[in-house]
């Protein structure tokens, strides 16, 4: 019974961690690509301020992806 409870908790944590990590990283990476695309378009249209803002969004999103990857590897190797 205790073993089953432990497995249920571990399974639930697996489900939550998988969905949050997968969907979160995919969202962040999509935002980064959106930012790069907007940066290219806005730069071409001579809108440097807006282009800089798009580049900043892309940078933050890429930083989030990198942070998620590093955090995942630290969690994996720390057990």
């Amino acid at each position: 019974m205790i073993a089953t409870l432990v497995e249920s908790r571990a399974l639930l944590e697996t489900v939550v961690a998988s969905v949050v990590a997968s969907v979160g990283v995919t969202f962040a990476f999509s935002v980064a690509i959106w930012g790069v695309g907007r940066f290219a378009d806005l730069s071409r249209n001579d809108k440097p301020l807006a282009a800089a803002a798009a580049a900043a969004v892309a940078s933050v999103a890429l930083a989030c992806v990198a942070a998620a990857l590093v955090a995942g590897i630290i969690v994996m190797t720390s057990k």
Binding site: L11, T14, S18, S22, T26, I33, G37, G72, M76
Partner: protein, 367 residues
């Protein structure tokens, strides 16, 4: 002396299984990168091979589960482990021969469970561990990857749907190098550990290690090397099935499916669940296809794969039980394992000869 000979045969057989695992399974890991053109086949396979090796050193939770939580180590002998491995290898070869990406992991666990039941009855199986750590995760994991990839691709199309296709495609192809690498790392850490667990189980059964012992370093290094070599050796026919026949993918779908697969496998590995990477990546591939358009998935091919999944545990268990019975015909010494090993090698040569007669396997890019 006889026990040591059997142990050596078990270790060699386990490493051979690990090699076939890499050969058979890792094609699934690189299929999406190759299918979308994110990486050339040689580069994708080389990178997967290297990351499989590295991944094997990340964790030992799955090895502990295989060694201690599936069958009762007190009644296990090296001969039982050997017969289980034969069951797994035979099933892997059968499915490989037909180009079906079934699960090496479930074949391994099915084989060991089958031979243990044949040798010592159902008491040899730890039902709690088998159900809680293998069967339930086996059902949940591919569904989870399917849903995560489906949600992911939905988000992707909402965020970048109005961007120019060139930038989006290049961006996700770059992203696939990272997601594909993570998936290979995840595969290495989960799958190589199963071989480590089986060798550790045999060492415990032989009295070479104490109960609940962790895998020794030489076991970790040899399992990592075997799966990496197997990966490098390829598996083109299965790449073709997974990469192009299930759905025609774009780079965003590839990224989403690989990201979902890596997340599910790594999270499961952390908790010691011996998953099938094949099931998970195929679940992710189908989820990414269904998330874009349900009809994009070739459900007939997907159905064949699901059938192979369902058959794997019982089929490998039956072959494992048969291999144990065959081994015991020759007594409890080393003669049985030696003869069954020779028969297995003959079978492998026959399968490869049959494949060679059919012609060279077809790479994904031409499919």
């Amino acid at each position: 002396m006889s026990a040591d000979v059997i142990l050596v045969i078990v270790v060699v057989t386990a490493l051979a299984f690990d090699f076939t695992n890499g050969f058979h399974d890792t094609a699934n890991v690189v299929a999406t990168s190759i299918s979308t053109g994110a990486a050339r086949p040689q580069v994708a396979i080389g990178m997967a091979s290297l990351l499989n090796f590295v991944g094997a050193f990340i964790s030992i939770s799955v090895a502990a589960t295989v060694a201690n939580d599936v069958v009762n180590a007190d009644v296990i002998t090296p001969t039982i482990v050997f017969a289980g491995l034969i069951g797994a290898i035979a099933w892997n070869l059968i499915t490989w021969s037909f180009g079906l990406p079934s699960s090496s992991s479930h074949a391994l666990i099915g084989g060991v469970v089958g031979s243990a039941v044949a040798a010592a009855g159902f008491d040899a199986v730890l039902a709690d561990g088998l159900v809680g750590k293998v069967l339930i995760p086996a059902v949940i994991a591919p569904v989870l990857a399917f849903l995560a990839a489906g949600m992911g691709i939905g988000i992707v199309y909402r965020v970048v749907g109005r961007q120019r296709p060139g930038i989006v495609s290049r961006g996700f192809k770059f992203g696939q190098i990272i997601s594909g690498g993570l998936l290979a790392l995840a595969h290495g850490t989960n799958d190589a550990q199963k071989t480590m667990g089986v060798i550790t189980l045999a060492l415990i059964a032989n009295g070479s290690l104490g109960a609940n012992a962790d895998p020794p370093l030489w076991v970790i290094v040899s399992a990592a090397a075997a799966i990496a070599l197997g990966t490098y050796s390829g598996g083109w026919r299965i790449i073709r099935t997974t990469g192009t026949r299930i759905i025609k993918m774009d780079a965003a779908q590839g990224f989403s499916s690989q990201g979902a697969g890596a997340a599910v496998i790594l999270a499961s590995t952390h908790f010691g669940f011996p998953l099938s990477t094949t099931h998970v990546i195929n679940g992710g591939v189908m989820g990414a296809g269904a998330g874009k358009r349900l009809s994009a998935v070739r459900w007939g091919v997907a159905g064949n794969i699901v059938t192979a999944w369902l058959l794997t545990l019982p089929a490998a268990a039956a072959i494992g039980a048969l291999a144990y019975g065959l081994t015991r015909i020759f007594g409890t010494g080393a003669l049985g394992p030696v003869l069954v090993s020779l028969m297995s090698v003959s079978l492998i040569v026959a399968v490869f000869a049959r494949r060679a007669q059919r012609g060279a396997p077809v790479p994904a890019s031409s499919g």
